[in-house]
Amino acid sequence: MSTAPVQPIPLPADWRDFWSLTKPRVMSLVIFTGLCGLLAAPRGAHPINPVIGFTAILCIAIGAGGAAALNMWWEADLDAKMKRTANRALPAGRMDRTVARDFGIALAVGSVLVMGLGVGLLASAILAFSIFYYAVIYTIWLKPRTPQNIVIGGGAGAFPPMIGWIAATGDITLMPVLLFAIIFFWTPPHFWALALFVETDYAAAGIPMMPVVAGHRSTRRQILIYAVLLLPIALAPFLLGLTHWLYGLSALLLGAAFLILSLRVATFRTPANDADMCAEKRLFAFSIVYLFALFGALVADRFILG
């Protein structure tokens, strides 16, 4: 008879652990930008039915949740090495990795199928590509290999307003491409500001984030370059006559504030502000406000001024 000690059977993962796999905070930004894309689209002779609009946003959210779960499945070992992520369901051992993978695949496939059947094939195809882009191109391929991971991978987060727009119109025009470009150019300064003050975590996990590979000075300079590029891109919808003054003024004011905060990150460095990273934390926090406010202004512009 065996005398080996009986191992207690681990508890099953709670539904909250499954919910956390979908990265709800990131999902809220995805839902918001997707909804803005849908609402800012021209209503035309056949405006989108509210049920179909709701389905489109739900599919965008579930697809993003599936991509996030696949990201956590792939990065469970890296997450265990970082203070910020060590308590997530997988690194903390509350959930089996294969469960997270299957959950992610189920959400991704389900969202693409429902989008295709309920909303439209073009929106569904772009949703499928955006999930593939985030889970495979960004998470598996680029993130562990190049400090430009955020620049190219940021494209994954830029798809939701484009999908929202296409769900409403069934067509790709210049405006959804500009919405894509705004988030694409917004992503590097947003993430690099974060990477500057959590750099030790990324270094411990061996992720080649820009501050780890190129150093603080180069990262700060690149933050400023992207902030400079973001201003005309965010203004482009107004300058090209695709929106009214409300959006144009908002883009100008928000872009100017973004630029000033990026300037403070890139220049006027002293040992004191190098230590407390106050400017970086402020830029990171403002970058989130920036995106919410800019897309909010886009919708307000469409609804108030037509």
């Binding site: 207690p8 059977i9 508890l11 099953p12 993962a13 709670d14 539904w15 389905t55 309920g118």
Partner: protein, 42 residues
Amino acid sequence: MTELDPNAERQRIIKGRNRVLALVLFGLAVLFFAITIVKKIP
């Protein structure tokens, strides 16, 4: 402080998961029903 009974805890977690799953499935059924009706309207 009382120690949690692992079996009771396991049952509680499974019950919670089943409830959430039932809610999600019910929501999806309602959604599919609504989509079908909307698509039928010319």
